[in-house]
């Protein structure tokens, strides 16, 4: 079991050959509505990238395209060298409303991805792996409870354990703390930060919360809406020698820049004639 729970960063290329994720000129429609217009970006292995933008700018759609459950109408997304829809490179999603299966116990919810993806492991090994991550998010002892018996914060811990358990090469988070109260969100934020660092995961993180993005990410992609596109790419990661102090020093400056952009976007979105038929 000990080697089963070692993080396995997917095929780290010798000498920075290729980024883990490349999004090239992706366009996507929902029905006849243009959601994403010619979006391109790249994400290096080990990066923590936040997507920020007004509601309806296609952040979640981009996340699902990266996940490979949606397919771009035009353009290409490659994860770990293969098209995103070829699902060899494991990805895992953490959802705003947790998306736990109500009929599965906590342990079996955490096992979900392992049951589909890790058929090479025996049932016991999958259980052990699930238990390890359940323990890691502080939920040891809740294995046989059902989700509805847990508080929101605890349910999202299950969601996190489920995502980390598959040891994904790309971890996708869709406003994971959006449905939690402020204190619980803060606590979970710290834990996610620790977990991501410890397991050296690559993360794409969707949020509305500027401070959340500033605290967690190495890079922020600002998205404009109607149609969704990437407007700015802001590097928050300082020099490798002293990242925290650097981050601290530039916090205010970065925040102001993000907020100026976001405020303009939101105001613009509000002025637009409501043609509200998103999804």
């Amino acid at each position: 079991m000990s080697q089963a729970i070692q993080p396995q960063p997917l095929g780290a290329p010798a000498g920075r050959a290729q980024p883990l994720v490349t999004v090239s000129e992706v366009t996507f429609w929902y029905g006849s509505k243009l959601i994403l217009d010619n979006v391109s970006c790249r994400i290096e292995e080990g990066e923590f990238v936040s997507l920020i933008g007004a509601s309806g700018c296609g952040k979640s759609t981009l996340l699902q395209l990266l996940d490979g459950v949606l397919e771009p109408a035009h353009g290409e997304i490659r994860v770990g060298g293969a098209p995103a829809t070829v699902r060899d490179a494991t990805r895992a999603m953490v959802y705003q409303n947790f998306a736990l299966l109500p009929w599965r116990t906590v342990l079996r919810n955490v096992r979900l991805g392992l049951d589909y993806r890790r058929r090479d492991l025996s049932g016991r090994e999958r259980d052990d792996l699930a238990r390890h991550y359940l323990d890691r998010v502080g939920l040891a002892g809740t294995e046989s409870l059902y989700p509805h018996q847990l508080s929101g914060g605890m349910q999202q811990r299950v969601g996190l354990a489920r995502a980390f358990a598959v040891q994904p090469s790309l971890l996708l988070m869709d406003e994971p703390f959006g449905a939690l109260d402020a204190q619980n969100a803060e606590i979970l934020r710290e834990e996610v930060r620790a977990l991501v660092a410890e397991e050296r995961r690559t993360v794409v993180f969707v949020t509305h919360n500027l401070d959340e993005a500033l605290q967690l990410s190495d890079r922020v992609l600002l998205m404009g809406s109607s149609p969704g596109r990437i407007c700015a790419d802001i590097d928050l990661a300082g020099p490798k020698s002293d990242p925290d102090a650097w981050r601290h020093r530039h916090y205010g400056e970065h925040r102001a820049r993000l907020w100026d952009f976001l405020k303009a976007e939101v105001t613009r979105a509000q002025r637009r004639v409501p043609e509200r038929e998103r999804r």
């Binding site: 699902q64 996940d67 459950v69 699902r87 494991t90 990805r91 895992a92 999603m93 959802y95 409303n97 998306a99 299966l101 109500p102 009929w103 599965r104 979900l112 991805g113 589909y116 993806r117 502080g138 939920l139 040891a140 002892g141 809740t142 059902y146 509805h148 018996q149 847990l150 508080s151 605890m154 489920r162 598959v166």
Partner: protein
């Protein structure tokens, strides 16, 4: 971190000043069980008293003690045969209904094309009082059990079918997406997401179907038959054996109650995760 603690606080905890939570009385705690029994008993007593004091003609009116006598009388004659015939019709009819409704209902929920094609027919047949077809079915299937089974099938198939379709169509899309995102293939999505989320809809459909099946059996027998509870009720009503007739009705009521309770048991077996999510019932 609250590792492993139960979500609720400790029961009966003493406060720092030595206070205890206000105690619920014995009666209050059991009211969900006691109140229904009390209502039924009270009604029976009032009925009995009224029946004895007013002294209406026993041809037109009866009361509990007389109905009990009627029941004893019935039990000594044809009750068991009638009950067996009706129960057989009911069970066969329900089984066939489920066998027809489950595949079609699931397919209609899955395939949009099939849904568009069949929904108008299914909805129309569901809301039409198809009992008007009963005489025709008797002509086709005869006086025996099979005509009643046919009536039950045309009554009970649609509620099960419609609820299953609805259940599949309203499966939480986030859950479907999550399962696929975590690597579920099509059959896994059905096994792990669609089917479990459809269970409550299935049980609701069954509950509606049971009520309609009871009507189908009794009315079918009423119209044309040689045995069964509906037959017994009809013949006793025609000779003004009112107590026996009402005793038959009472047997049907009890049969329905037993079936509904069995259904609740089935739901608890099929959907254990719902225990505690809805405290009523």
């Amino acid at each position: 971190m609250m590792a492993g603690s139960a979500p609720a606080g400790p029961a009966g905890a003493v406060s720092s000043t030595g206070l205890r939570p206000p105690r619920e009385t014995w009666l209050r705690r059991r009211r969900s069980r006691l109140l229904p029994v009390a209502t039924v008993l009270a009604l029976l007593v009032i009925w009995e008293v009224l029946g004895r004091t007013i002294g209406w003609n026993p041809l037109f009116f009866s009361y509990p003690s007389q109905i009990w006598r009627g029941l004893v009388d019935l039990a000594g004659s044809t009750l068991w045969t009638d009950l067996r015939v009706s129960a057989t019709e009911f069970a066969l009819g329900m089984l066939l209904s489920v066998a027809i409704a489950v595949p079609i209902g699931l397919l209609m929920g899955t395939s949009r094309n099939l849904y568009y094609a069949l929904d108008p027919i299914v909805s129309a047949l569901y809301s039409t009082p198809v009992l008007v077809l009963a005489p025709l079915l008797v002509i086709w299937f005869g006086l025996g059990i099979s005509s009643k089974v046919a009536i039950v099938v045309i009554l009970s198939t649609f509620p099960v079918m419609i609820n299953l379709t609805e259940g599949v169509r309203t499966t939480d899309r986030t859950l479907l997406r999550a399962a696929r995102s975590f690597g579920a293939r099509r059959r896994h999505v059905y096994r792990d997401v669609v089917f479990p989320s459809v269970v409550p809809f299935f049980v609701t459909g069954l509950r509606l179907a049971v009520g309609r099946a009871m009507i189908g059996v009794v009315v079918g027998e009423y119209i044309a038959s040689t045995a069964g509870m509906g037959y017994q009720i009809n013949s006793d009503a025609q000779v003004f054996a009112t107590a026996r007739y009402l005793a038959g009705v009472a047997v049907i009521v009890m049969f329905s109650v037993v079936v509904i309770e069995l259904l609740k048991l089935l739901e608890r077996k099929l959907a254990p995760w719902r225990v505690g999510t809805h405290d009523t019932e």
